[in-house]
Each structure stands twice: as C-alpha cells, then as structure tokens.
C-alpha cells in the first residue's frame, strides 16, 4: 500500500493547517483508506486494483482541501485571509511594498547615521550583519509557524539554532572588538598623562558603545528565539498529546 503513503504525504504537504489538526485529518483518511481497501479486497478485487479504487474514492479535491482549511484554521488566520482577499489588486500590493521599502530604507539610514553606532567603531558592522541575518531568519520562521502554518516535523525547528549562534556571535564580536581596542589603546599610551587619558576615554567610549550594541542584539535575538521556541514546543506537545491519546 505504498501509494497510500505517498497520497497521505501529498495531503500533508497541501493542507495548510497546524500539524495537530492536519494529523487528525490524515489519521481519519488513513483509516478510511484501509477500510475501503479491505472492502474491495473482500469483493474479490486484486491488491493493486483495490488500492486504486480506494484512492479514487477517498481523493480530496482542491475545493474539499480548501473547505477543510477554512473549517480548521484559527480566527486570526481567517482574519488575515480576509485582509489579503480585500487587498488583492496589484496596485494595493505595489503601494504596500513601496511603503515597506521606504520604511526599511529610512530606518537603515537612521541606524547607520546614528552617532552611537559611529562611536562603536568598525566592529559594529559585523554585529549589524548578524542582527540583520537574525531578523531575516526570525521573520521567515514566524511566517512559517504563525501564518503559513508549516508545522512539518522535519522543518519545525529549522533556523532556531542559527538564531542562538548569531546571538552568541554578536557578543563574541563585541568582546573581541573591545579587547582589540584595549590592546591598541595600550599601544598608544604615552608618557604624557593628558594624552593617555584622552586615549583611555576614547577607548571607553568606543568599547561601551560596541559592547552595548553587541549585548542588545544578543538579548533581542534570544527573546525572539525564546518566543519561537515556545511556539514550536507547544505544537510538538499538542502533536505528542494527540498521538498519545490514540
């Protein structure tokens, strides 16, 4: 009955629902497929024909899949679907994309021009790159988990480790930058007390800005990781609970 497995896999892929809801539907279909197969076998059909007939009888049309999704989707998702349904025109989508792009460009310009960041020295750039990478991963994972409802067990935790790695990388980069600046500062120390104080205060300013930025990025990324991780755990627990009931 290998074609049953591939059909169930297809349904699993096409049904845009949270995994526990999807699993319930799949288990129901699987049980009906098996019963129909046994019915056709008892009527004297061969294995292959019984399998094909059962599949033909059970096969969900695109319309039926859409109806099942509408029945089981969350109120929030229904609201989102209604929102996208009312903003379907190309003009509206283009206007939305233009506004989003404008906001991103202006925010980027402000961030780059901020005196705080300029004071942090060159090590701020890799930290900002880690932050941008983490934001991209977090957005992609949030979209997959909350909007697209892609709760496939093989993909559900993807990207979470990368978030932690980026968080650690930003702290390590800040610490490395701080130590390097300290080393340079010592190298520039001179007998003139006034100039030594000047170098020291410059180092303090740079390193405090750098370490603050590094820690801020790390903390924010960790909070996002925690929220996504909790969602993933809730989905997995619901899945395990459901299978346990069976």
């Amino acid at each position: 009955m290998s074609s049953f497995g591939s059909y169930l896999e297809e349904v699993n892929r096409r049904l845009g629902l949270p995994q526990p809801a999807k699993s319930r539907i799949l288990l129901e279909i699987a049980a009906d497929l098996r019963d129909l197969y046994e019915l056709y076998r008892s009527r004297g059909l061969g294995e292959e024909e019984a399998e094909q007939r059962a599949l033909e009888k059970i096969r969900l049309s695109d319309e039926a899949m859409g109806q099942l999704v509408r029945i089981h989707e969350s109120p929030f998702r229904r609201w989102l679907a209604g929102l996208s349904g009312s903003s379907q025109s190309r003009l509206e989508r283009a206007a939305f994309a233009a506004v989003l792009l404008f906001v991103l460009v202006m925010t980027g310009r402000e961030v780059v021009a901020a005196p705080f960041l300029r004071a942090a020295g060159p090590f701020i750039w890799p930290i900002l790159a880690f932050a941008a990478g983490a934001a991209a991963i977090a957005l992609a994972r949030a979209y997959a988990l909350f909007v697209k409802k892609d709760h496939h067990i093989k993909r559900i935790r993807s990207g979470l480790d990368a978030l932690l790695a980026l968080s650690a990388a930003s702290v390590l980069t800040a610490v490395f930058g701080l130590l390097l600046e300290l080393y340079r500062s010592f190298g520039r120390s001179v007998s003139d007390v006034e100039r030594t104080l000047l170098y020291s205060s410059d180092w303090l300013l740079r390193s405090s800005a750098l370490i603050t930025a590094g820690l801020l990025v790390a903390i924010l990324v960790c909070i996002i990781w925690f929220l996504l991780y909790r969602k993933v755990v809730r989905i997995e627990q619901a899945e395990v609970g459901f299978l346990w009931e069976l």
Partner: protein, 115 residues
C-alpha cells in the same frame, strides 16, 4: 448556535447534510461507514465521494450538529466515530420537513408542465 435557514441556492449542500444526519440517526458511525450506508440505502443513487464527505462532517461537527470521538474498534484500531447531537437531531427534523415541502412544491410545478 446560529439558526440555519433552508436556502434553495445551497440545495446540494443541504441534501448532503440531510443524508449524513439521517444516516447517523441510526447510531454512531465513522466516515467510511456513512458513505457506504448512503450508497447502499439509496440503491447506488447517491454515490458519495469520501473526499467531499470530510469537509461536510467537519463542518457539522464544528457547528455542534454532530460529535466526533476517537474510539477503539474490535480490531484494536482507533477510529473517529460520529454521533448525532440533540441540536443535530432538531436540525435534521427541520431540514427533512423543508425538503418534503420543497419536493411537494417542485412536483406541483413540474407536474403541471408534464400535463
């Protein structure tokens, strides 16, 4: 629960609902049994594709007209069995009355044409 009206533009859906609810009036069943019983009792006139059955069953369950529960069968396998609720029984009776009225009025018009 929202009161559902008999709507002539949704004849197919309401016909399917009435068939399913009437089948469940005889006792709880799972999806496959419902489809097979409808087919057998109608002498093959209503051929229910199971693919169209699931959305109707799940919708009726969501509206509280039927109740689905996973139960262990004699074969030790767990199956989802559906049972009619008291709201579902009331809705089924009302729908049956409306369908009888609908077919009576339709026959009156079609009968005149045939004469």
């Amino acid at each position: 629960m929202k009161q559902r009206e008999f709507e002539t533009q949704n004849l197919a859906r309401q016909c399917n609902e009435l068939l399913i609810l009437s089948t469940l009036a005889g006792g709880e069943k799972h999806g496959y049994q419902i489809a097979v019983e409808i087919e057998e009792r109608s002498g093959g006139f209503f051929r229910f594709n199971h693919g169209t059955l699931y959305p109707i069953l799940h919708k009726l369950e969501q509206e509280g007209l039927i109740q689905g529960a996973w139960k262990e069968e004699r074969s030790k396998r767990k199956r989802k069995r559906y049972a009619l609720t008291s709201e579902g029984r009331g809705y089924m009776k009302r729908l049956a009355r409306e369908w009888r009225e609908f077919t009576r009025r339709l026959s009156a018009i079609v009968g005149e044409i045939e004469k």
